[in-house]
C-alpha cells in the first residue's frame, strides 16, 4: 500500500509569499472567493463567521507614532505535512473528510464526508478552516458567475483553501490530452498567485529544483508560521524585517530568530 506511488516522483506543492512585496490590497482574497464559489452575506464584519480561505492579516510592531510599522500577511491553508502527513487537522477528523494527499502534499477537504463536528477547526493552529453556519445565498441572478469546477458548499460543513486543487486536475487533464507530458510550473498556478498584482506570491513544487519556490524557500529571510509547533507547513514567507519574522512564531523577548 505504502509504496503504491513510488514509481512517480512525489510532488510537494507549496508557496513562498514575499511580505516585502505584499501591499495588503486583498486581491488574493477576492480572487480566491471568486474562483472557489465562496459565498458572502449582507454583514461580514464578524470575522469569526466570515469565510475567507485566504485571509490577509495586518501585523504591527507595537510601537507608538511615528515608530509604528505594519506588515500584511496573507494566510491560505498552510497544507501542513506534520510528520509523514499527520497534519493537525487530518489526524483529528473522525469522518476522514480531510486527508493528506501524499502525491501532491495537498490537504483536501471532502464536503460530502464532513459532518460538521469542527474538530479540525479546533486543531488547526492557523485558523485556516471555516464553518458554514449558514446556507450560502447568492442574490437572484448572481449564481450565474459560479465556477462549475468547484462545488458550492452547504450549511454544516467545514471548508478551507484547497490550493485550487481543481486547477491541478485541469492541468493534469490538459497535459494528458497533449500527449501525457508532465505538468509544468506554469500549468498549475493558484488563483491567488495569479491575481496578486504585486507578484508577492510564488507557487510551485517545493521538491522540484526547477521551480521558483525551490530556491525562494531557501532565502535567508524565509520562515514559516509557528514552525516550532512541528506542523511542517508548506507555505513559506520572506520578510526583511526582523520584527515580522519574530511575530511569526512564539519567540521569547530575548530569543534569537532564524535557524
Amino acid at each position: 500500500m505504502k509504496n503504491e506511488q513510488s514509481h512517480e516522483t512525489t510532488k510537494k506543492f507549496g508557496m513562498v509569499i514575499n511580505l516585502d512585496l505584499c501591499t495588503g490590497c486583498g486581491s488574493c482574497m477576492v480572487a480566491c472567493m471568486a474562483e472557489n464559489n465562496v459565498p458572502f452575506k449582507p454583514d461580514e464584519t464578524d470575522k469569526l463567521k466570515s469565510i475567507t480561505w485566504m485571509r490577509v492579516y495586518r501585523l504591527t510592531n507595537g510601537k507608538s507614532f511615528p515608530e509604528t510599522d505594519i506588515c500584511y500577511l496573507p494566510r491560505p491553508c498552510q497544507h501542513c505535512e506534520g510528520h509523514g502527513g499527520h497534519s493537525p487537522c487530518v489526524s483529528v477528523c473522525p469522518a476522514t473528510a480531510t486527508d493528506y494527499d501524499s502525491q501532491t502534499g495537498i490537504v483536501s477537504q471532502i464536503y460530502t464526508r464532513c459532518f460538521g463536528c469542527r474538530y479540525c477547526m479546533a486543531a488547526c493552529p492557523y485558523h485556516a478552516r471555516y464553518f458554514n453556519w449558514f446556507d450560502p445565498v447568492w442574490p437572484d441572478g448572481m449564481e450565474k458567475y459560479l465556477n462549475p469546477n468547484v462545488s458550492p458548499r452547504m450549511r454544516g460543513v467545514v471548508e478551507k483553501c484547497s490550493f485550487c486543487y481543481h486547477r491541478y486536475q485541469a492541468a493534469k487533464d490538459r497535459a494528458y490530452v497533449e500527449g501525457q507530458r508532465e505538468i509544468e510550473e506554469g500549468d498549475y498556478q493558484t488563483a491567488c498567485t495569479q491575481a496578486c498584482p504585486a507578484g508577492a506570491i510564488t507557487f510551485g513544487d517545493l521538491n522540484n529544483p526547477e521551480h521558483a519556490v525551490y530556491k525562494l524557500k531557501q532565502d535567508a529571510n524565509a520562515f514559516r508560521l509557528l514552525e516550532r509547533l512541528g506542523t511542517n507547513p508548506k507555505v513559506y514567507y520572506i520578510s526583511s524585517k526582523e520584527w515580522v519574522r519574530r511575530a511569526a512564531d512564539n519567540y521569547l523577548p530575548n530569543e534569537k530568530t532564524g535557524k
Partner: protein
C-alpha cells in the same frame, strides 16, 4: 419487580451506553449530515464550453486589460490579461469583483420613471420608446422656449468618444454646461500649461526611476493605474530603488515605503519648497537643464530663501530641518529621481500649489521628459468629426457663461463640478432646468453632500443614465440604464500616469443582462428626435458607428486586439519641448506667493481641535462604482463593524478626548456631524482623525446601503484660487463621546 431510583438510573445509563456503542447514533448523525448536504437550494453550477474573452476594464482610469473566463454564455471569472502592457496579467481587488456588478442585485433592470416624491424609491417601469419620447419632449420644450443653456450634463465617462459626443451634444443643443469630473490628471495637465505653456498628459516612467518621493500620493493605495503601480513597487524593492512617502498617516503606501515622513497635512508644499531651497543653495540642481530650458530661477531662489528655509518649513510641517536637508540632498543626488503628488487615489484634483511645487523639484533635478522621469505625453487622437453647425437657438445658448465659471484660461477642457453645484444651489446667473447624469454619482462623490442635494432639489428634471441604483439615480426623475462595462463597447485613450500612449477598446463580454441601452445610442436617438441641426450633427446610426468614425482604421484591429500601445514612444526632448517656451519656476502671470500658497482647512482651531482627513483604500471603491459585496467582505473590522464606521485616531489624541477603542463617538465638523466608533491606531499623527472614502451610501443594496458614513458629507468644498478645482483635503473637527 420494583424499579427504584437507583435501578432506573443504572438502566438508563446502561441503555445510554448501549446506544452509544451501537452504530445507531453515528449512522443517524451521518444520515442527517448527508440529508442537510442535499438541500436542493445549494446551487449546482452548470457545466459547459469554456472560453476566454479579452477586454479592457473601465472601472477606474487605470486602463488594465482583462481576460474573462466564460462557461457557455455565463461569465465566471475575471483575470488580468497577460499580454496587456499596463497590468501584465495582474488585477486589482475591484477588477476581480466585476461579475458581482454585472450580475448584482443593484442593477437597474430597465427604464424607470419616478412615481412618488423624489428619493422615495417608488418607480414605474416604462418602455424605452416612452423614456426617449419624454426626455426628447422635455429637451425640445426647453430649447423652444429659448433656454438651452439651462440643460446640463455631468459625466464621469471614461470613453473618449462618449466624452466627445457629450461635448457635441452641448454644442448642437446650445448649452455650455457640459461638466466632467476632473482628477489629478487634470491638475497635472494644468501645471504643465501654467509652467511651460505645453499641452500634454503628465505621466511617470516609474519603471526606470531611481528614487521616488511621493507627497501623499497613494501609490500603493490605488493611485494612477493601481496594478501597474504595484508592479513598479515590486521592481523598486528588487532593485533597491528608494520610495519616500510624505503623509500624516501610515497608509499602505507609507507602510511599504523605505522612509515614511509624517507631516502636518496641508504643509507638503512647504516641505517641497524648503527642499528646493536646499537644492538651489547647495547648487545640487541640474545646471544644464536649468540654464538651457528654464527661466525664473532667480526670482524663485529669492522667494524660497526668504520664506522657505528648512528652519521655517520645520515649524510648518513638523518635519525637522535636518531631515528636510537630508531629504533634499538625497533626492537631488539620486539618479533619475521622481517627485509625485496627488492625494490618495488622485480622484480629487487638489490644489495647484502642490502640483507646481512638485514640478519645480522635478525640473531642478532635470528629470522632465527623460528616461525614468516625468513625461509630457501626447496621446493618440481621435479622427475629426464634421463641424457642428449650431443654429440660432444654440448660438444664443452658447453665448451664456458656463455656470461653473471655467473658461478659456488654459488649453484644456476644464470642468468644475464643485463650482457648478455652488452656482446651482445659490441660483446665481441662471437656473438649470434639466440635468443628465452619466456614469457618475455626484450626490455621493462631491464634497459637501448637503449642498449638492440642495442644488439638485432646485433642478426640476434629473435623468440618470446609471447602470446601478446609486445615490444620484435614486434621486432622479428618470433612469435610462446604461449597460455595464462588460456588456458594451467603448474606447479608452491613455492610462492614468502610464508613460506610453495606449488605446483600448472594451468589448461586450456577455450579452446585455438587463433592458439597457448605451448612453451614446440614447444621445443619438435624442438628437434625432430633436431634429434639424441636432439630427444633422448626430447623423450616425448608433454609438458603434460613432466609435468607428472616431477610431477610423483602428476600429477593426482594436476589435480583435483589444488594445494598442506605442512602446517605442519617446517624449520630446527637454531642449526641444522647452525651446519655444521655457519651463518657468514661477508660473507666468502669477505671483510666487499666490502660486505656492497652500489651502488652509476649513474651520477654526479653537472650536475644532482635530483635523479630519478622508483616506482611500484598495478595499473601498469610492467613485461612481459602489463597493461590490466581495470588497465590503474583505474590509477590516477596524474600518467597519456591523453598520458602524470606525474612525482612526492616535491613542494619545483619543486619551485626551476621553475615548477608548470601540467607544461610540460623535464627530462634528463645520459641515455636519455623524456617529462613529473609535479605532485607536498608532499609525496616525496625533491631532488627526481619518475616515475612508466609499462608505455611507444611502442607495444600492443590502450589501452596501447604510454601512458607515459618507466622509464627503462632513468635508466642505474649497476651490483652488488658480484652477478652481476642488482643493479641500480635510476639515477641522471635534470628537465627543456619544
Amino acid at each position: 419487580m420494583k424499579i427504584d431510583r437507583r435501578c432506573f438510573l443504572s438502566l438508563a445509563i446502561g441503555a445510554g451506553a448501549g446506544i452509544a456503542l451501537s452504530p445507531l447514533p453515528w449512522k443517524l448523525t451521518d444520515d442527517l449530515a448527508i440529508w442537510t448536504q442535499n438541500w436542493q437550494w445549494t446551487p449546482v453550477p452548470k457545466r459547459g464550453a469554456a472560453k476566454t474573452v479579452n477586454s479592457v476594464c473601465t472601472l477606474c482610469p487605470g486602463g488594465c486589460g482583462i481576460s474573462v473566463r466564460k462557461i457557455d454564455d455565463r461569465a465566471v471569472k475575471i483575470e488580468g490579461m497577460e499580454t496587456h502592457p499596463v497590468n501584465r496579467g495582474g488585477i486589482c481587488t475591484l477588477g476581480l469583483c466585476g461579475l458581482q456588478l454585472l450580475y448584482g442585485p443593484t442593477r437597474v433592470k430597465g427604464p424607470l420613471k419616478r412615481v412618488a416624491d423624489r428619493g422615495k424609491g417608488q418607480w414605474m417601469p416604462i418602455t424605452w420608446d416612452q423614456a426617449i419620447r419624454e426626455v426628447t419632449e422635455k429637451l425640445s420644450a426647453i430649447r423652444k422656449s429659448g433656454r438651452p443653456q439651462s440643460v446640463a450634463t455631468m459625466s464621469g465617462a471614461s470613453s473618449a468618444t462618449l466624452d466627445a459626443l457629450l461635448d457635441r451634444f452641448g454644442q448642437a443643443y446650445g448649452t455650455p454646461n457640459t461638466i466632467r469630473f476632473p482628477s489629478v490628471d487634470d491638475a497635472y495637465h494644468l501645471s504643465v500649461s501654467l509652467m511651460s505653456g505645453g499641452k500634454a498628459r503628465v505621466a511617470f516612467d516609474f519603471e526606470h526611476a531611481g528614487y521616488v518621493l511621493s507627497f501623499g500620493a497613494g501609490l500603493l493605495d490605488g493611485w494612477g493605474s493601481p496594478v501597474r503601480m504595484f508592479k513598479a513597487n515590486a521592481l523598486w524593492k528588487q532593485s533597491g530603488v528608494k520610495l519616500v512617502q510624505v503623509e500624516p498617516r501610515l497608509s499602505r503606501t507609507a507602510a511599504k515605503a523605505d522612509t515614511w515622513i509624517s507631516i502636518v497635512p496641508g504643509s507638503e508644499t512647504a516641505l517641497a519648497l524648503a527642499m528646493a531651497h536646499v537644492i538651489i543653495s547647495e547648487s545640487l540642481y541640474q545646471a544644464e537643464f536649468v540654464e538651457s530650458c528654464s527661466e525664473g530661477m532667480e526670482g524663485f531662489k529669492e522667494f524660497v530663501a526668504a520664506k522657505y528655509t528648512p528652519d521655517i518649513a520645520a515649524k510648518m510641517t513638523g518635519v525637522d530641518a535636518a531631515t528636510i536637508t537630508m531629504l533634499a540632498r538625497e533626492f537631488a543626488k539620486s539618479k533619475r529621481p521622481i517627485a509625485v503628488c496627488g492625494r490618495g487615489q488622485g480622484t480629487i484634483p487638489g490644489s495647484m500649489d502642490m502640483f507646481m511645487a512638485t514640478q519645480v523639484l522635478n525640473a531642478l533635478v532635470g528629470n522632465l521628459n527623460q528616461p525614468g522621469g516625468v513625461w509630457f505625453v501626447t496621446d493618440q487622437t481621435m479622427q475629426e468629426w464634421p463641424e457642428v453647425e449650431p443654429d440660432a437657438a444654440a448660438k444664443a445658448g452658447l453665448a451664456y457663461p458656463r455656470l461653473d465659471g471655467a473658461k478659456g484660461m488654459v488649453p484644456l477642457k476644464r470642468s468644475l463640478p464643485n463650482q457648478f453645484v455652488q452656482a446651482v444651489a445659490s441660483g446665481k446667473d441662471y437656473p438649470i432646468e434639466a440635468l443628465l447624469v452619466i456614469e457618475s454619482n455626484p450626490l455621493y462623490t462631491l464634497n459637501d453632500t448637503a449642498l449638492v442635494k440642495q442644488a439638485f432639489s432646485k433642478i426640476p428634471f434629473i435623468v440618470s443614465f446609471s447602470s446601478f441604483m446609486d445615490d444620484t439615480a435614486a434621486y432622479a426623475d428618470m433612469i435610462l440604464p446604461n449597460p455595464v462595462y462588460l456588456e458594451r463597447m467603448e474606447d479608452v485613450i491613455g492610462a492614468s500616469g502610464f508613460p506610453y500612449p495606449t488605446i483600448g477598446l472594451s468589448q461586450p463580454v456577455v450579452k446585455p443582462q438587463c433592458n439597457t441601452r448605451h448612453v451614446g445610442d440614447v444621445l443619438i436617438q435624442l438628437a434625432k428626435g430633436l431634429g434639424d441641426t441636432m439630427a444633422r450633427a448626430f447623423a450616425w446610426k448608433d454609438f458603434s458607428a460613432c466609435l468607428e468614425a472616431s477610431l477610423g482604421d483602428r476600429f477593426k484591429t482594436l476589435k480583435k486586439s483589444v488594445f494598442q500601445v506605442d512602446k517605442s514612444y519617446q517624449p520630446p526632448a527637454p531642449n526641444e519641448i522647452f525651446a519655444s517656451e521655457r519651463f518657468s519656476f514661477i508660473p507666468r502671470g502669477i505671483q510666487a506667493d499666490v502660486a505656492f500658497k497652500p489651502i488652509a482647512a476649513e474651520g477654526d482651531t479653537g472650536g475644532y481641535p482635530l483635523m479630519l482627513m478622508a483616506y482611500d483604500t484598495m478595499r473601498l471603491s469610492n467613485g461612481y462604482i459602489g463597493n461590490p459585496p466581495f470588497l465590503t467582505k474583505i474590509l477590516e473590522d477596524t474600518v467597519l463593524k456591523n453598520q458602524d464606521c470606525l474612525i482612526e485616531i492616535n491613542p494619545k489624541s483619543a486619551k485626551a478626548a476621553g475615548l477608548d477603542e470601540g467607544d461610540r463617538a460623535e464627530i462634528q465638523t463645520p459641515k455636519g456631524k455623524a456617529l462613529v466608533r473609535i479605532h485607536l491606531d498608532d499609525g496616525i499623527m496625533p491631532g488627526i482623525v481619518a475616515i475612508p472614502r466609499g462608505l455611507g451610501h444611502e442607495a444600492y443594496d443590502v450589501y452596501l446601503a447604510g454601512k458607515g458614513i459618507n466622509v464627503n458629507s462632513l468635508v466642505g468644498s474649497l476651490s483652488d484660487p488658480i484652477s478652481g478645482f476642488e482643493a479641500a483635503w480635510g476639515i477641522r473637527a471635534k470628537l465627543s463621546k456619544a
